[in-house]
Amino acid sequence: MTTPLKARGVTVSLDGRPVLRGVDLDVAAGEFVALLGANGSGKSTLVRAAIGLVPMSAGSVELFGTPLAHFKDRTRLGYVPQRSRAVAGVPATVQEVVMSGRLSHRRFFGRRSRADTVAVAAAIERVGLAGRTRSSLSDLSGGQQQRVLIARALASEAELLVMDEPTAGVDHDNQESLAELLGGLVHDGASVLLVAHELGPLRPLIDRAVVVRDGSIAYHGPVDDLIGEDHAHVHTHDAIPSLPVGLTGEGVWR
């Protein structure tokens, strides 16, 4: 089985300022990797570069063994952006948004097929929103909107889920149901790369934590070696001394 994500020497500059400096990142098949770090550490930029949303100035990314630029098998990749981006200027139902996750299966002018309808219904069912299929997205709670975005990624039958802060602004109960959902998906063979500020109920699911600081990897290894929830107090096993958040080069002022 090919490695879902293999990034080497990823270097990104935004407006001439280095944000990532030669970062390596792997996600193995069936692995649950959490990317942690303070605001402005570069963790979000790293996932965005890995899926082609931010151009790299150096380095390489392979998705399922294919270089990013040639990666056409888009159905295998499921991107779950931050929930704040879910609602657009015109109403849309849960079904419509999840259906847009099937586009990578379709031809240019292609109509929806029976398989599309079945996959969408299954994805909505999986995230526990079967009763809300025809609800408008803006009538749902934050946690429910987050689940709609996950369903959209599931509808494409993605093998690698890339999630940007799925727990942000979601209450504890909904975080727990999210953890349950993700646990089930990993159990069924999906790989997950998740950016998070705090882990909360997701903690037991995580195979490997990667801490980004100042555009470099400050730590990677089991999540147990991280003290508490706070990513600022990481046991660093290398020579880099831990700096309090905010005193680092980037901090929150990015």
Partner: protein, 279 residues
Amino acid sequence: MIQLLDYDFMRRALMAAVFTGLAAPAIGTFLVQRRLALLGDGLGHVALTGVALGLVTGVAPILTAVVVAVLGAVLIELLRMYGRTSGDVALAMLFYGGIAGGILLANLADERATSLNGYLFGSITTVSDSDLRLVAILAVVVIALAIGLSPQLFAVCQDEEHARVSGVPVRAYSILIAVLAAVTITVAMRTVGLLLVSALMIVPVAASQQLTRSFRTTHLAAMVIGLLAALGGVVTSYEINTQPGPTIVMIALAVFGLAALVAAAARRVRAHRRTAEIS
């Protein structure tokens, strides 16, 4: 009403209203979804330069307007994608350049500014047979693409980054949306005029989404509202002797007001019912 159909110019006016009323909200829905509601306004300004170019060179203004507006639309999208200056400032400058350029060109060609009036505010009753033919062709293209490609355009306007990751050619579709908006503006130019064209793209959508939950219903209901406002506006303007463009826009705004009232009432009833259930 029947006698109104006795006049050739009124029959043409009503036909033009049908095409405009359907096409404008068909593409306008995607602009609203993308939160680019003012793009239509800006493109209308740019199209004015195209009209003036037509008046100066003696080419049909509707043709030059469509070319200039399409070029403007592509330029705007490229600025949005690659521009390093702030996007809205770049857009604003393009828009002002469009309207100033249009009037200057017309002046230089000794065209009185009044000859532009018909394009700024619409003059639906002077639509000729060849105008109508062009309007019909362009409108049908816009409506067919806006409906036929609606799954793709929906995905791009709902969440551009997700669409990109899913392998949807977002740049091509973004340019297509801007170009369709530009074409629609030239379609609607003779009906409601360049200054009010954006109203017919946006107001019916704003009205329909007061009452809808799904994108599809919003899209189709907006087209129906656009059609009714355009036809109603032409007939009313004939009856009460007003300019058709502003009359069409006022009717659309009235529909919006009504829809907003109905939506507010429905919300209140629902909230009331909920409190009744709890107590």
